[in-house]
Symmetry: C2
Subunit: 216 residues, 2 copies
DNA sequence: GCATTGTGTACTGTATACAATATTGATACC
DNA sequence: GGTATCAATATTGTATACAGTACACAATGC
């Protein structure tokens, strides 16, 4: 059972549903009727509705008005689109980081990168993806741009869903993780432009293509 | 009374509340208790709650758990942050536009720009802001990047709220509107980089500073 | 066989009721 | 006079009930 920091039932249900979607337990296209979820969680339909609606704002579920909600399906086109946006946003983050604090941030990033590598070593993909998300979010947070951070956190949910659906081959994922170290070293040396270009390769390679027809 | 395309009460209330906030009728910091809104709109609290929660996802209202919701206040720092993100996203849009369709898109853009100028002429600021939003959204839509479009539409709500709060002096607003024509001409001539740079000036100048202490 | 209509079911959308918590104002105390 | 305490009130959070709509599937006609 996942951790639930907040105490309203709405929040708890939201967190649990999100986890179920991002872990692949609830797959793209699956119906999620309010009543059966209410039974499953042992609460009334009200907090379920609020959770579903919040998930819909994040694009994780799609609500068909007066009918039912389903877990969203990500098209290959959408994956490409998200990759392009992510490159822009994270490049902005790199540009925004105060040069004096490069070392400090690299230190934090390296922790996440190490956790990624470790999880990769023991074949724990879920943790790889989780720590990779934290790596990228840490990069974004280093910008101290609140609007940027909030957009990237929102986008991250969609990216995690995409990750689960695409099922990247092991060798590619491994190659991809190696780029973390390269980017960090560039950042530490103040090679901002090189780092931004590597980020472009990194994200484009990771998120584009490799997507099943219907996220099943 | 604003137009309400969708038919659920939730959607109608959402649209009306959003309009009231973006028109400045509901100012930053004002409490919005569910029950009084329910009376005002003649519906139960349920659709009101859903509308408020949606507005919270867009950052237009802030929910204090178990207490009340208030119309969000935008800090000058937040305005700067939003401006930076907007520049990145719209520059990506420009980069994504298919070069063969420049002329076609410029044609659409010029309509919005003209409406802006006309509204400015008769001193109708609300319409100026509305049409300016449509101008920028049209630019974004020309990219055909669905993720980009959805993020920019979301951000637009916040930008409109910012516009109302900042109360830009007339001469600056006028100067700002003039840049639309310049950008369009650059785009038509395929001067992408120049256009992107002008966009940077345009947005930075428009959204930064000029903000009252507490959006009152 | 295929399209079309009708009926029943499942599910959502909204209203209402109640429980739980934050806020406000008054009162007592230092 | 200022601060702390407590009760009354206002407001949210959740459960439940009911109305209305969409969908699936059977029945009918061609």
């Amino acid at each position: 059972m996942p951790k639930c920091i907040q105490n309203s039932l709405s929040d708890q249900v939201y967190t649990m549903l999100k986890d179920q979607i991002l872990s692949g337990q609830l797959k793209g296209g699956m119906k999620i009727p309010e009543e059966s979820l209410a039974e499953q969680f042992g609460v009334s339909r009200t907090p379920i509705r609020e959770a579903i609606r919040r998930l819909a704002e994040y694009g994780l579920v799609t609500i068909k008005p007066r009918s039912h909600a389903v877990v969203s399906i990500i098209s290959p086109q959408e994956a490409d689109d998200i990759a392009k946006v992510r490159v822009s946003l994270e490049q902005l983050a790199i540009d925004s980081i105060d040069e004096e604090s490069y070392a400090e941030h690299v230190k934090e990033l390296s922790r996440y990168a190490a956790d990624c590598q470790y999880a990769m070593g023991i074949g724990d993909r879920a943790t790889v993806f989780e720590q990779d998300s934290l790596f990228h979010l840490a990069l974004v947070k280093a910008s101290r741009n609140s609007a940027l951070i909030s957009i990237c956190e929102r986008l991250d949910a969609k990216i995690q869903q995409l990750r689960i659906a695409q099922n990247l081959p092991e060798d590619e994922l491994s190659y991809y993780l190696g780029q973390h170290a390269q980017m960090m070293s560039m950042l530490k040396n103040g090679e901002k432009e090189a780092c931004k270009h590597m980020l472009y390769e990194h994200i484009t390679h990771d998120l584009t293509s490799h997507l099943d027809k219907d996220n099943a």
